[in-house]
């Protein structure tokens, strides 16, 4: 069976499952639409959280980031998992106890202020919308590469599927499709990893294969270090960036993860407070399955790529792959423009090497005139991996379905967070407080439909800065939402003025720092300083600033709160209530 037909069948089958679930899990009340009636089993919620959290970026881009950055990419692995410890211990159980439908609703109640609630809505919508653009792009790319369908068609099909189950089922429909999507994506991610680990190390567990010996008796990581250094790249396991920036980026991603509203909302769906704790543990188990496999995928893909091109000793005349003999996957990816070769020294062979200065002299002595792999997009590592390793067609088809599942599940979670913020926090609380449940349910379906259309539009016309705004999403969540949520639970003395000033200080400082280097509202021309380590304050990159913004938020909030009146008695009572499960 041809690869394309196989891919249609596998992707089509997964879509049929999602639709079937949508029809079974329709929402009949706002409680079901916003929080799935608070009746989701904690382990299943953990699985749904895994799919909700792991986006097209986790599935497609992360292993590639690791493959090309080695040890330095650990910040993403730790940042995007360590946040769950904060979520489980600092936020999820208490917010579940509060029992409201949305994150802004908690902020509005705790700080007895609609202004605070509105600031939270703005942060939520900005963070979620920027995030959703990436998912829409992921769906389009997966379709265009694997089904050879135009990008737009892929996007429309993806939107139609989300439309059916998110508008009909709300959180209830999304939860059960996310569980199915988790199964698809984890299967699609681990199967090729197991195959490749077996091929390279004989160990079927990729997490162990990464630390195992290869057929020639050397350890895989040692071998990779040697190959890379021999070709003028930095050693895989060595640190390249600054320690302070790595630590701050890890911390920013951790507190950003804990503060992202679409993740927090998942913990509103379990029946009890202790279920929220338990569920956070399971969520991280399901996430860790992929996140501990990714380093193996990254290292092995890099090794395979290097060995494909550098077939023998560096510098020997027969040591490099001849362009005429390049494998099929190489040609396929050249067509997409994500892989580009330029024969700089016209010898018909491919020379792929790093920028190391010491090696440059050696390369010149071999008659090499520069690195000829002018583009190796890191996103292709996961998608091309099964082809590079020569795995059967059904595995490749599975990877396509997995990438689409990862993008769809995250998009749906984000869209729900946006839709509930609009219908519950804006319409119901500000404009039409007397809406009955039926009308609000209708309003929430309309907001969901609207959010899908906006996200689709942005996916079709992605703003040029789409990639950079991811830093913004985490920066916002880390510097504005996480601190006010945490202080709302852990400080009885924190009051309205403190929270609002804190949020604005965190938000303002983070935005300012990002805009200085990336341009005001991401218009490159308006950047005030070049975006490179020499100009960064203490070497802190704009993406790592969220943790510093959070610090400002805490500091300002405490100073303001302690110099103004304490919150009213009933609010202090409410905080005491939050702290006990019953």
């Amino acid at each position: 069976m041809s690869l394309q037909l196989m891919t249609y069948l596998v992707v089509g089958a997964t879509f049929a499952v999602y639709i079937a679930i949508a029809i079974k899990a329709r929402a009949t009340s706002t409680g079901e639409f916003y929080v799935a009636g608070k009746g989701v089993h904690p382990i299943l919620n953990g699985m749904a959280t895994g799919a909700d959290w792991m986006s097209a970026a986790s599935f497609i881009s992360m292993a590639g980031l690791i493959a090309f950055n080695g040890y330095d990419a650990s910040v993403y692995l730790m940042g995007w998992t360590g946040g769950y410890c904060l979520l489980a211990m600092l936020l999820a159980p208490y917010l579940r106890k509060h029992g409201k439908f949305t994150v802004p609703a908690f902020i509005g109640d705790r700080y007895y202020s609609n202004t605070a609630r509105l600031v939270a809505v703005v942060c939520l919508i900005t963070a979620s919308l920027t995030y959703v653009i990436g998912q829409m792009k992921g769906i389009g790319v997966a379709f265009s590469r694997f089904l050879e369908m135009p990008y737009e068609y892929g996007l429309f099909i993806g939107m139609a599927i989300v439309f059916v189950y998110a508008v009909l089922g709300g959180m209830k429909g999304i939860t059960y499709t996310q569980i199915a999507q988790y199964c698809v994506l984890i299967f699609a991610y681990t199967v090729p990893a197991i195959f490749i680990s077996l091929q390279l190390t004989g160990n079927p567990v990729p997490q162990l294969g990464l630390g195992s010996t290869m057929t020639d008796g050397t350890y895989l990581l040692d071998k990779l270090d040697i190959i890379l250094v021999d070709l003028g790249f930095a050693a895989y396991t060595a640190q390249k960036g600054s320690t302070l920036d790595m630590a701050l980026l890890t911390l920013s991603l951790m507190i950003g993860t804990a503060g992202l509203p679409h993740v927090i909302a998942r913990f509103f769906t379990v029946p009890k407070v202790k279920d929220a704790r338990f569920s956070a543990g399971w969520a991280l188990v399901f996430i860790a399955l992929l996140y501990t496999t990714a380093p193996a995928v990254g290292a092995m893909a890099r090794l395979n790529l290097m060995n494909t091109i550098q077939t023998d000793e560096v510098g020997s005349p027969e040591g490099n792959l001849s362009y005429e003999e390049r494998p099929t996957w190489f040609m396929n990816w050249e067509k997409t423009g994500l892989l580009q070769f330029e024969d700089k020294n016209n010898d018909g062979k491919i020379q792929y090497y790093g920028p190391g200065e010491e090696f440059a002299a050696k390369a010149a002595s071999y008659g090499w005139q520069g690195n000829e792999m002018v583009k190796v997009d890191r996103d292709i590592m996961v998608l091309a991996n099964p082809e590079i390793a020569g795995l059967p067609n059904w595995v490749i088809a599975l990877v396509a379905a997995g990438g689409i599942a990862a993008a769809l599940s995250t998009a749906a979670g984000l869209l729900l967070a946006i839709a509930s913020a609009i219908s519950h926090d804006l319409l119901k609380s500000v404009f039409a407080p007397n809406m009955d449940d039926k009308t609000e349910l209708m309003a929430s379906r309309f907001s969901m439909a609207g959010a899908i259309v906006v996200a689709g539009y942005l996916g079709l016309n992605p703003p040029g800065f789409a990639a950079q705004v991811v830093a913004l999403a985490f920066g916002l969540a880390a510097s504005s939402l996480f601190p006010v949520l945490m202080m709302g639970i852990f400080s009885k003395r924190m009051n309205r003025a403190g929270a609002i000033c804190g949020m604005l200080a965190g938000l303002g400082s983070t935005l300012l720092y990002i805009f200085i280097y990336k341009g005001w509202f991401f218009f490159q021309a308006t950047a005030m300083l070049p975006d490179n380590p020499a100009n960064w304050l203490f070497g802190i990159s704009p993406g790592s600033f969220g943790a510093v913004g959070a610090l400002f938020n805490f500091a300002v909030a405490f100073i303001v709160a302690w110099s103004t009146a304490p919150p009213p008695k009933h609010i202090q009572q409410m905080v005491e209530n939050l702290r006990i499960p019953n």
Partner: protein
């Protein structure tokens, strides 16, 4: 009753602080600040610091949440506040 609840909260904070200390030590300590020193130790084919950064810290994060769950379940029962 009032005193009981404040004791319950103190116990919760104590458990949380201990677990988050481990969280910080494995992620920021072992994986970032002391990675070079630990990389001198090899566990199979893994330099130890690199292993913490890309594998070990994640396993420990998972363990921490479950330890928190089980400890809190016991504390909830002791103070009779479980739901």
């Amino acid at each position: 009753m009032k005193k009981n609840l404040s004791q319950y909260w103190k116990k919760n904070l104590l458990i949380m602080i201990c677990l988050l200390a481990v969280w910080a030590i494995v992620s920021f300590g072992c994986s970032i600040f002391f990675v070079e020193q630990l990389n001198a130790i090899m566990i199979g084919g893994f330099p130890l610091g690199f292993w913490f950064a890309q594998q070990g810290s994640i396993y420990i994060f998972v363990a921490l949440i479950f330890i928190y769950f089980f400890l809190m379940e016991k504390v909830d029962k002791d103070f009779d506040v479980d739901d």
